[in-house]
Amino acid sequence: MPLHIRTYHDLVEPDRSGLPQQIAAQRQRVAGRLAGVGRVVAVMSGKGGVGKSFVTAGLARALARAGRVTGVLDADFNGPTIPALLQIPVTSCTLHENDIEPVASPEGVRCFSMGLLLEDGRPLAFRGPEAEGHVWRGTLEAAALREFLGDVAWGALEVLLIDLPPGMQRFAELVELLPAPPAVLTVTIPTPESGDAVRRAMRFAAERGATLVGIVENMTGGAFSGTAGDDLAAEFGIPLLARIPWHPTPDAWHELAARV
């Protein structure tokens, strides 16, 4: 005779742990922290080596020079380059009772990055059992993303750019954490191979409710040939916002900033 066992959802008595409430409080903290941010724009490509961080930093600096209050969250925890690209010197992050101040670049871009926290030359490593690290490492990185969003005193920003690592996992985590899916700025290089990978990322983002605001074709006019930027823009019905050459002038960034 099988035992009568109620299911998980049948049990509705108050639970002292309140894990769903703890998760909800985490989400509310993120939403509250970003209440003063006009627009969250995720910079993604779905593949590595196309220059997402370079484009993010160039765009952020141009936005700041144009007087627009801008922040950059470096979500590439394992290869953080944004502080260097924004020319932020090694410094300590100021802690307050309830938050941490972002670090400001010489041009006034507010930034937070794992690169500000890690020892020089050391990889990001977590305390924990070596065995089966793949099970919990992704969860820890998602927690770090949540804390970068919710614990940094971003303040009032016109634009918060989020520099994503290669792949799509961090974008999926971002969508879960934010009150609404972010806008997405896509970066590709001209080659058809890059176009194929970036197309998948764009579909991934669109299927999760993100608005695709445009494409930046990076590293044009050099060794890479192709029309990936134009092709993707036509396919998704969005603008090709800029072609960034190998050695961009400040004008190239200003033109991009004016269109974002």
Binding site: E13, Q22, N98, L117, L118, P129, A131, A143, R146
Partner: protein, 148 residues
Amino acid sequence: MKFLCVECDRQMSFEERQLPGDGTLAAAFRCPGCGRAVALLTNPMETQLVASLGVKIGGTTLPPQPMETVRGMVTTGRPDAFDDAGERGAGSGPRWSADAQERLARVPNFVRGMVKRIYLDYAKERGIAEITPAVMDTARSELGLEGL
């Protein structure tokens, strides 16, 4: 995760959490009907997974520290990554025993400020005048500070 006393058909209530210090966790749950208790034992990987979510089995009693998970879990952080702008109630809080100070000094710089604040808040909330290693152990277990 919930526990059901099948005999009573009652949801069991969280009662106590213990951290033996070997990366594992024990959480006890008791049936409000018959009083029977069961213990949930997690291995280090499972314990880590729960800690990675930034949630605490048994609930929270103290407000979260800024960047608590990053500061508590990253082992390759710069010692001077954080500049504490001011300690809560500095000068008026509980005192630290010599043993407790020694133990605190062994905590890596990257996370020491946060650990200190957590123990201070814990002691203040409970009216504890002196923080000793025993208080630290109790706080660690009660607050679910896996590994700190």
